[in-house]
């Protein structure tokens, strides 16, 4: 369990986190989603006591992290895959970490085995790929068999097999009743992994809800195929309704339920040969939530998707810019 109360962190004049409050519950995977520079890593560093909050407070398992008698057995964290001396071997790194809590060498071997580092454990970490570095960071996080696991961008640099492995791992950890707090800027990954989402943008919490609620909150879109799109478009027009022509006979309607569209079509004597309610993707929901909160906006990409309109492609470009590695 992680409880943050009014966390604020200001670096110089630049506010990184501005009054963040949330609770991460055990037994489920909580995703921490936000664009680059939104304050995810800073918040996680404050949880781990590495950064001192400018104001506010955060407790892990009921105490400040630093107040725990055996912190590694309470909380395991992957904050930065590079938090390892590059000249030391993975095995010796884990052994040194384990020694602080008298964690037996067997456990070191276990986490090396678990994270698939067996073949490279005796090699210098400096030669590791980004993915192997992530695995080592996860191994270190699991070393103390902790109740709470905090992972900052754990799938960064992992191959598809590794991504799947992390997804199954965090789900299994949550299923065991542990608290799992996972940050990412990749909504697609979150959609598959998290049960609950905390969305942060520009240092503020934008949403804190079960992932299903975040998806449902978005206006329902319906795909309509009709041979008279012009008539139907006019008939559906109204407050809060948007109709976009995707293809000559394909419309995407939002703001009107599927049944009401069918009724309108019936009244207008228009033939409809497809009427499909669309599940909003998390990506769309996320873009809606964060469109004003992206720190680094990209310029619009002209004419890449001419059917989508300029505003939309501009937004997609902003996500593309967010797909790189988090800088802080």
């Amino acid at each position: 369990m992680i409880e943050a109360q009014g966390l604020v962190k200001v670096y110089g004049n630049k506010p990184a986190v501005q009054g963040v409050s949330f609770t991460v519950q055990p037994g489920r995977v909580t995703g921490f989603l936000g664009p680059n520079g939104a304050g995810k890593s800073t918040t996680m560093r404050m949880i781990m006591g590495l950064d001192r909050p400018t104001s506010g407070d955060v407790l892990v398992n009921g105490k400040h992290y630093a107040k725990h008698r055996a912190p590694l057995r309470e909380v395991g964290a992957l904050l930065d895959a590079k938090a390892v001396h590059t000249s030391r071997s993975a095995y010796n790194h884990l052994r040194a970490m384990a020694a602080t809590h008298s964690i037996p060498t067997k456990r070191v071997h276990d986490v090396i085995e678990l994270t698939g580092l067996g073949a490279v454990a005796k090699k210098r970490v400096g030669g590791f790929s980004l993915g192997m570095g992530q695995r080592l960071g996860i191994a270190a996080a699991l070393l103390g068999d902790p109740q709470t696991i905090i992972l900052d961008e754990p799938v960064n640099g992992l191959d598809p097999e590794g991504v799947l492995w992390v997804r199954n791992l965090v789900k299994a950890l949550a299923a065991e009743g542990r608290t799992v707090f996972l940050s990412s800027h990749l909504m697609s990954e979150m959609a598959l992994t998290a049960d609950h989402l905390i969305v942060i943008g520009r240092g503020r919490i934008i949403a804190d809800a079960p992932i299903q609620d975040i998806l449902n909150n978005r206006a329902q879109r319906v795909r309509v195929r009709t041979d008279r799109p012009d008539v139907l478009t006019r008939a559906l027009a109204g407050e809060g309704v948007s109709v976009e022509a995707r293809e000559p006979e394909l419309l995407e309607v939002s703001g009107v339920p599927a049944r009401a569209i069918a009724e309108t079509a019936l009244a207008q004597q228009v033939l409809v040969y497809e009427l499909t309610p669309l599940q909003a993707s998390l990506e769309e929901a996320y873009m809606d939530l964060t469109k004003d909160e992206v720190e680094y906006h990209s310029g619009p990409v002209a004419d890449v998707h001419d059917h989508a309109g300029n505003a939309e492609s501009g937004r997609h470009a902003a996500v593309a810019a967010g797909a790189g590695q988090e800088g802080n």
Binding site: L50, L72, L142, W165, N168
Partner: protein, 282 residues
């Protein structure tokens, strides 16, 4: 590699907590598992022994030549007590390597990000700093003492050629050889403190060299009395040099005073390192 191999006891918070001896053990593992540590330590011993032997051989040759030329070495300020000092004659160079080791021990953790792992495992922050201090001070002392004794024993056969060998029963000789270990320990602590304060290897090493080598030279060429009498003797390497003397002149710092002044430098720097380690974000 499946999640099923996780240990089943969820939420288990039993077992050992953090303690200073465990932190010390961890720091010892970290210290000994870097190849650079061993390279620097071996280099220190080699350099110190090498310089001590060369110095001893040179002095013995010089004394011999003066005597055979009918000169009195004492009139030129030379006597066999200079030979005794050669047991720790490599200290000036050895201190630079050991001091650098102290800087690197902590600055490399900041540059690689390792410090975040360290501070996560031991969040009280001061324990890892003091455990590092303990490890590096003890190792530096052992290296210093070892080098002095190796130098002593290798020097005797060389000096025997000149009939100038000496025993360990020379007044204060063993004390001086032991204190050369203390000298290196203090330098290592100064390096560690500077590395922690500056969080930067190059900056830490340069600052240490300024403190140990440059300041004494600068002070020497400033002709004011208050610098000569009030500053010079209290610079860390000058005070430390008094500590390893076999005998000190009247008016100079005694061995004890020199040692305490040098230790005060390390203590002040370490206190500063402790305060900033506690206060700053990692």
């Amino acid at each position: 590699m499946s999640a099923a191999t996780l240990t089943p006891q969820a939420g288990r918070v039993t077992g050992h907590g953090v303690s200073f001896p465990r932190t010390l053990h961890s720091e010892w593992i970290k210290f000994t598992t870097l190849r650079s540590t061993w390279v620097l330590l071996a280099t220190t011993v080699l350099v110190m022994v090498g310089i001590g032997l060369l110095g001893g051989w040179g002095i013995a040759t010089g004394l011999d030549q003066m005597e055979s030329a009918g000169q009195d070495p004492a009139a030129a300020g030379m006597d066999s007590s200079l030979l005794y000092l050669m047991t720790s004659g490599g200290l000036d160079f050895g201190q630079l390597i050991i001091g650098s080791l102290g800087v690197l021990l902590i600055a490399s953790e900041y540059s690689t990000g390792m410090i975040r792992s360290t501070m996560t495992a031991v969040p009280s922050r001061l324990s890892p700093l003091f455990a590092k201090a303990f490890v590096v001070a003890v190792v530096a002392a052992v290296v210093g003492i070892l080098s002095s004794f190796i130098t002593y024993f290798l020097l005797q056969p060389i000096l025997a050629n000149y009939g100038r060998e000496f025993g360990l029963d020379v007044d204060n000789l063993v004390q001086s050889m032991l204190l050369s270990g203390v000298y290196l320990a203090i330098v290592a602590l100064m390096g560690l403190a500077l590395g922690s304060l500056l969080r930067n290897s190059a900056g830490g090493i340069v600052t240490l060299v300024v403190l140990l080598l440059v300041l004494p030279i600068v002070a020497q060429i400033i002709p004011f009395d208050w610098v000569q009498d009030g500053v010079m003797p209290y610079l860390p390497s000058n005070a430390g040099r008094q500590m390893v003397m076999l005998e000190t002149a009247d008016g100079d710092l005694t061995q004890w005073q020199g040692g305490l002044v040098m230790a005060a430098w390390a203590a002040v720097l370490l206190a500063g390192a402790a305060v900033t380690t506690k206060a700053r974000d990692v």
